[in-house]
């Protein structure tokens, strides 16, 4: 995965899946229909501000709550290149990889980054912010392959035609 740069949107702890996409809008037909309601209970203006390649930085337990896969799908459909958080809820974590959304665990960047700042991410190595760099871990190769293929279904199709 290549290096990328994006503008930051800052969110807090415990951003739950009902905030990412409220129940009310799950009945809409497509993810593109739902996209405009991303983060609606907390920051209804976000979908109109986020541009392709932008980055979300959040605190602990990002994606807690329901197993709705529309949550990572909506974030991806908004054009977000990755979510950096102190920690992620486990179902959301699996769902994100399965849908090709990059998640990065880091607990240092939150103290220095402000909304609107630019971050550069070198996947598997570091985040760069105003001349400073912050180390990040890398995903196991098999999970990285799923991400690079755009999600689990695509990866399986490509790999062995199993599904």
């Amino acid at each position: 995965m290549a290096t990328f740069t994006g503008k930051v949107f800052v969110l807090g702890d415990d951003i739950d899946t009902d905030i990412i996409i409220p129940t009310e809008y799950l009945a809409l037909k497509t993810i593109d229909d739902m996209r405009q309601y991303g983060f609606y209970p907390l920051r209804p203006e976000l979908p109109s501000l986020i541009k392709k390649g932008d980055i979300i930085v959040a605190g602990n337990n990002f994606g807690c709550g329901s197993s709705r896969e529309q949550a990572p799908e909506v974030i991806k459909a908004l054009g977000v290149s990755c979510v950096i958080a102190k920690s992620f809820a486990r179902i959301f974590y699996r769902n994100s990889i399965n849908n090709g959304l990059l998640l990065i665990e880091n607990s240092d960047i939150q103290d220095v980054v402000k909304e609107g700042d630019e971050l550069t991410v070198i996947p598997g190595q570091e985040i760069q912010h105003k001349g400073a760099s912050y180390k990040i871990g890398s995903l196991p190769d098999n999970l990285m392959d799923i991400l690079n293929d755009g999600g689990l279904v695509n990866a399986m199709k490509k790999r062995n035609g199993l599904i």
């Binding site: 415990d14 009310e24 009945a27 209804p44 337990n61 197993s67 920690s87 279904v153 199709k157 035609g161």
Partner: protein, 413 residues
């Protein structure tokens, strides 16, 4: 090296002698549960596959509970897709029978099993010694087609329970207190295991309530030993009273907590986080617009009996809606037989069918701007029960019912 219950169940499902936390295993799933919240999305993905094949249709159990009965043409279309696909492919489908986890526990789950469910509260099956965990629809699809998936064996947090609940506290107050203590991500990626001499003082309904809410601490699952109380439940529900796993004496636990259940008091989770816990007294003057008694967490016959015992001969406060939704058809039938439904009706409650109702903020009873709900549901996230500027408090069946009578948050006497 010794194993925990979680590690033993994963070892069994992976067909290996030993499994240990931190390692990834390819496992065969025993049941695959999916409900009308997301099944239509799974079907859409399935229909795009090159080789359309279900690994074993007998593993699949599909349950409509999120929007039952349908509230819009959109949800009707999703459900029709699910109904038609189930029929074409010979998949067991429940419609109108109740909430998915309650049905799984009443009819399907056996000790030592590993279950994936496309719903976060699939962690509810531990009281029968089974490892249930929630997944999204892509993971579900993969398991549906291959029968398998991968799991990271979790670390275990062990809760050693002693004493018994008193002072009006219920199992719901116990698990809410524990979540408040360890935090909304205190058990993230981990299993929560509940054991100890206090277990004999907890009913099956209490145990389901505890396991069901473990995901609100981030847990992968909640687990318990299969004792005589669990075996009696299995027998009563027409299944073999099989043994479960017990953690080895030298199993490794990340942390062990000792909890004296006698110290638990009635609590609420305040908006907008499940770990935002206070004793009921601290919020006792908060006025409410609606009260909800139901959900997979707290809608069983024991909860309805508790509510009915408090509201019998009294009335719901003027201007307050009190929704009651039994967790399953069987629970509803039992409540009818015991005269419990009559008691709620005479008090002015709105008794609805078994479904997820306002707990997930759709279908029934959603609340408007600035309104406050006290609920036995699972979550109180911002906007969870309706308008983004509304407020949800979580409490026990006793607290919810007493609050419905008083029109403000009230501790039951």
């Amino acid at each position: 090296m010794g194993m925990t219950i979680a590690e033993k169940i994963i070892a069994r499902a992976a067909g290996v002698e030993e499994a240990h936390a931190g390692n990834i295993y390819v496992v065969e799933l025993d049941h695959l549960m999916s409900n009308d919240g997301t099944t239509h999305l799974t079907i859409d993905m399935y229909n795009k596959l090159k080789n359309k094949k279900i690994y074993d249709k007998n593993k699949l159990i599909w349950i409509m509970d999120h929007n039952v009965p349908c509230d819009s043409p959109k949800t009707a279309a999703s459900q029709k897709k699910m109904r038609d696909f189930a029929k074409e492919n010979g998949i067991t489908l429940h419609e109108g029978d109740g909430i998915c986890h309650e049905i799984m526990i009443e009819k399907y789950i056996n000790p030592k099993e590993l279950i994936f469910g496309a719903d976060s509260h699939t962690c509810s099956y531990g009281e029968l010694g089974a490892f249930g965990t929630g997944v999204g629809c892509t993971d579900y699809l993969y398991a549906m087609v291959t029968g398998k998936s991968w799991v990271l064996a979790p670390e275990t947090l062990r809760f050693n329970l002693t004493g018994e609940l008193r002072n009006g506290a219920t199992a719901r107050d116990l698990i809410l207190t524990i979540i408040g203590m360890i935090g909304a991500n205190g058990a993230n990626y981990k299993a929560m295991e509940f054991v100890g001499p206090g277990m004999k003082n907890l009913t099956m309904s209490d145990r389901i309530c505890i396991c069901n809410l473990c995901v609100e601490a981030g847990a992968k699952t909640g687990l318990m030993e299969v004792d005589d109380i669990a075996k009696a439940y299995l027998r009563e529900h027409g299944r073999e009273a099989a043994d479960g796993f017990v953690s080895d004496p030298d199993a490794k636990f990340e942390k062990v907590y000792d909890i004296d259940m006698g110290s638990i008091v009635p609590v609420v989770a305040k908006p907008h986080f499940v770990d935002n816990i206070s004793p009921v007294e601290e919020v006792k003057d908060v006025e409410i617009n609606e009260a909800f008694l139901g959900s997979c967490n707290n809608g069983r016959i024991e909860d309805l009996r508790l509510g009915a015992s408090i509201i019998k001969g009294k009335k719901v406060a003027p201007g307050v809606r009190f929704l009651v939704s039994p967790a399953s058809r069987d629970v509803y039938a039992q409540a009818l037989e015991e005269g419990i439904i009559d008691i709620f009706m005479e008090a002015g409650a709105i008794v609805v069918n078994s479904n997820c109702s306002v707990c997930w903020g759709s279908c029934q009873g959603v609340i408007g701007e600035g309104e406050t709900l006290i609920s036995t549901g699972t979550r109180n996230f911002k906007g969870r029960a309706g308008d983004k500027n509304s407020f949800v408090y979580l409490g026990s069946a006793a607290t919810v019912t007493a609050s419905a009578i008083a029109g403000k948050i009230t501790r039951a006497e």
